[in-house]
């Protein structure tokens, strides 16, 4: 997993709960990196899993809630670092449709070792979009946070219906319906 995800995650934890919490979850997790992260490095996904787990235990917040919040947090980083992707798409649906075939392709060019989920999209009608999330990382909640922020970014309001296709959450269907 890319180092930036770790640095952003720990920054969010520090902002929300203070560095004591950061220190706490690092110390309680068995991390090969020793909890030292740099945005340009690459680290095992399991470290993120342990950090998240310990954060959930300490804060009494659910994993899915934490992931959702992290998604929303990371969105700002994306907007800041990669404004071109957002400028290229005029609407939220256009942006979401461009993830799989454009944004992820570009990300792969920049970070050949990046492991990305797949997002199949299907425009059901002019105000309804179906997105299928597929990833062994089971981070659909993280994706949901990103989607919510995207709609917000474009100033559009929509309801998001999330439904697991596989029980363990490796495949999840989002049905995004814009308000009339």
């Amino acid at each position: 997993m890319k180092g930036i995800v770790f640095t952003e995650f720990l920054e969010m934890v520090e902002e929300e709960f203070g560095y004591e919490m950061v220190d706490n979850i690092i110390n309680r997790s068995d991390l090969p990196s020793g909890g030292v992260y740099t945005a340009i490095g690459t680290y095992a996904f399991s470290e993120m899993g342990m950090l998240l787990h310990n954060l959930s235990v300490d804060t009494k917040l659910s994993m899915s809630q934490l992931l959702n919040t992290f998604g929303k947090y990371l969105f700002h980083t994306f907007v800041k670092n990669y404004p071109g992707f957002f400028e290229a798409a005029p609407t939220a649906f256009k942006f979401l449709e461009s993830i799989e075939d454009y944004i992820h392709v570009e990300v792969k060019k920049l970070y050949p070792d990046a492991e990305l989920p797949s997002f199949e999209t299907k425009l059901i009608s002019h105000n309804q979009l179906e997105m299928i999330y597929k990833s062994e990382r089971r981070m659909a909640d993280f994706a949901e946070g990103l989607i919510e922020k995207t709609l917000e970014h474009y100033g559009e309001s929509a309801s998001i219906n999330k439904k697991n296709i596989t029980e363990n959450g490796t495949e999840v269907k989002f049905l995004i319906t814009k308000a009339a």
Binding site: D23, T38, I40
Partner: protein, 707 residues
């Protein structure tokens, strides 16, 4: 944990993270450096490849350019719509146009207006019908305005998404010019040939008139009291006139065919009747030659057809006549049979086969040429103009057939040809039996033998014998005479003295030795004025002599003297009257000129009716434009023709017109004279047509009577 400790930990981690990042960055920098190095090498290698490729391209392009620009042909490209996209410099050399004058323009801008459509259609065809490659010759306008011809190969080639024409054009102007000149030259030659034939036809026609006068006058002269010497001279005169008449008649025929004046006259005909008639006619003519003329008609086919009966008649008469000329004994067989037929047409084979002297293989082609015979000996022994078979061949060709010959020297000749005919619908309805009785040869009296090699003399003597109802046989030389004498008893033998193969003296000696004619009267025919020769004849066992040329009275006198028992039959019969000539025509004049030769009269009337309308057209044209000189010329030309058909007063009037024209008199007066002539001519025309038909039927009657 206190705040300081926490911050310390954060700082420691941050320092560690920085060091880690520095390490990663250093690795990345090295990686980047190496990658750059690789890229640089790759770039250099690519540049090298590009350079090589560019050099190759330049070489191949300059090679191509060298070929294209130094070609002798115009090489050009056009887009699919016909706009030029490329042209080599040859266009400027040949046509004067610079590249700029051509590129971007449409090809039709360079084509003369008459050819635009043709060339346009050609390109359209090349484009739309996927023709592999096509060739077209067409003219283009050069910059100077001159017309140049190009011969062009064009191909449609695929060019990316579109298509374009690729063409190579070569200048062929000199070729086209020489082609045109050839065509013109051929036309001129053909016209010249036609003019020659027409001239011959007219000349022959003109020659006939004075020749008739010579024949007529020499006959009349023969009836006057003339010396023996004068008689001999007269005889030569008459013989020569006859030869000349035949020659002219043949020339007239052949020139008519060559001038294209002879057209088929398709009528319903019966081939069976036609062949039977010819067979019969020749059987009659042959009475005195040991040759049997027979016909063989395939009975299983319908002989009623649509065709030109008179041409077929003439062809068969020529072929049979030719066979007779060269057959001394045996038979002549005229055969017709059907080769194939369908609902509307039939193919018929005509064959004339004889047991004559035959023709050497290498001479076969020769005998159909004008004025050519198989050899000069043939001409000496058999006479003739050498035109008969040429005419026959031309007539057969005119009817769409081709004469074929099978012959061997000494083994007879077979000539045949195939013609196509249309069926006649009436054929079945009109079918009737055309049975002609075989001609019987009365053997009550013994015949006379005429031994004579000269055909004119043969014809002369036998026509008189025929007239006096005497039977005769002809032998062309002494040897044949001996053969015949061994088979028949003759009442009297006329023996020429100088002949090929065996002369008259030898033949007489032989006849007198033994056989049927040991006591028969033999009269020598001699052109010699020398008494010694005549005495020699008498010494050789001949009874008397008759000097050539002799007149009918002299022949009659000899016959009366030696055929005492038959004196009664020797009275000269009156001229056969078959019908009266229409009173509107000058009968006296016609009889004087043509005697009773109705065939000849018919020929003259027919020719008159064919040529006169055209002459009047010429005359009217000249009158319309008041071309006085031409009026005089035409009047002079047609003046004598009216006389020849028994309208001498129109000849006189035409003479008046000629004179008036030559005196340059007022055009109105000329028109008035001509108008009177034309009115008379128009009113007489139906009479002439009727008279022509009468002549034809009288002629048939005469032939039948003589039979």
């Amino acid at each position: 944990m206190d705040q300081v400790t926490i911050l310390q930990k954060k700082l420691e981690r941050a320092i560690l993270a920085r060091k880690q990042a520095e390490l990663i960055l250093e690795e990345k920098a090295l990686e980047l450096y190496n990658t750059n190095l690789e890229l640089k090498q790759l770039n250099e290698s690519l540049e090298l490849q590009i350079n090589n490729r560019t050099v190759q391209l330049k070489e191949s392009e300059s090679k191509y350019r060298l070929i294209v620009e130094n070609a002798t042909e115009i090489i050009f490209n056009m887009d699919e719509k016909g706009y030029f996209t490329y042209v080599n410099s040859v266009a400027e050399k040949l046509l004067g146009y610079r590249e700029n004058d051509i590129i971007g323009n449409h090809f039709t801008d360079f084509i003369p207006i008459d050819f635009k459509k043709k060339v346009y259609d050609f390109y359209l065809k090349v484009r739309d019908e996927n023709e592999e490659e096509s060739y077209l010759q067409f003219p283009v306008k050069a910059k100077s305005g001159e017309i140049r011809w190009l011969g062009q190969n064009v191909k449609l080639i695929k060019d990316g998404e579109g298509k374009q024409f690729f063409a190579i054009a070569r200048e062929i102007t000199p070729l086209i010019h020489s082609q045109n000149e050839l065509v013109k030259a051929r036309e001129v030659a053909e016209k010249a040939q036609q003019a020659e034939s027409l001239f011959l036809a007219n000349m022959s026609h003109e020659i006939r008139t004075p020749l008739n006068a010579i024949v007529g006058m020499s006959h009349l002269l023969g009836d006057t009291n003339i010396s023996k010497e004068q008689e001999e001279m007269l005889d030569i005169l008459q013989n020569s006139s006859t030869v000349l008449q035949e020659l002219i008649s043949d020339i007239l025929d052949i020139s008519k065919i060559d001038a294209g004046k002879l057209e088929q006259n398709i009528k319903e005909i019966d081939l069976k009747a036609l062949v039977l008639n010819i067979t019969r006619t020749f059987q009659v003519k042959l009475d005195n030659k040991p040759v049997h003329v027979q016909c063989d008609i395939d009975g299983n086919f319908d002989t009623y057809l649509l065709g030109d009966g008179s041409m077929i008649n003439q062809i068969l008469i020529n072929l049979v006549g030719n066979s007779i000329k060269f057959t001394n004994d045996g038979f002549i067989n005229i055969r017709i049979k059907e080769l194939k037929s369908d609902d509307t047409s039939q193919k018929v084979r005509f064959e004339v086969e004889d047991t004559g002297i035959g023709i050497a293989k290498e001479k076969i082609a020769l005998i159909f040429q004008e004025f050519k015979q198989a050899s000069s000996e043939i001409k000496d022994s058999y006479g003739g103009t050498g035109l008969g078979l040429a005419i026959t061949k031309k007539l057969i060709t005119l009817l769409g057939g081709k004469i074929q010959v099978e012959s061997e020297l000494g083994n007879g000749t077979k000539m045949y040809f195939d013609l196509d005919f249309q069926n006649t619908n009436k054929a079945i309805l009109n079918k009737k039996e055309h049975e002609l009785k075989a001609i019987e040869f009365s053997t009550k009296n013994n015949p006379i033998l005429v031994v004579e090699d000269n055909l004119i003399n043969q014809k002369y003597i036998t026509s008189l014998l025929k007239k006096w109802n005497l039977k005769y046989l002809i032998a062309d030389n002494g040897q044949i005479a001996i053969d015949l004498c061994n088979q028949y008893k003759f009442e009297l033998i006329f023996m020429d003295l100088q002949m090929p193969v065996m002369n008259g003296f030898e033949a007489t000696t032989e006849i007198r030795k033994s056989g049927l004619n040991i006591d028969s009267t033999i009269i020598a025919l001699t052109a010699s004025t020398l008494l010694t020769k005549k005495n020699k004849a008498l010494e050789n066992g001949m009874n008397d002599f008759l000097s050539k040329p002799f007149n009918p009275n002299q022949l009659h006198k000899i016959l009366t003297e030696y055929l005492k028992t038959h004196a009664a039959t020797l009275e000269v019969s009156a001229a056969t009257e078959v019908g009266e000539i229409n009173e509107a025509l000058d009968a006296k004049y016609l009889k004087e000129v043509y005697e009773d030769d109705y065939e000849y009269m018919a020929d003259m009337f027919d020719t008159f009716l064919k040529i006169t309308p055209d002459e009047f057209v010429n005359l009217h044209d000249a009158l319309d434009i008041a071309d006085v000189k031409q009026i005089g010329a035409v009047a002079h030309k047609i003046k004598p023709t009216f006389q020849m058909v028994g309208i001498p007063n129109l000849t006189d009037q035409m003479g008046k017109l000629e004179k008036a024209a030559k005196a340059n008199e007022d055009i109105h007066k000329l028109r008035k004279i001509e108008s009177d002539i034309y009115k008379s001519y128009i009113s007489l025309k139906p009479i002439l047509i009727q008279q022509l038909e009468n002549f034809n039927s009288w002629n048939t009657q005469l032939v039948t009577q003589n039979a």
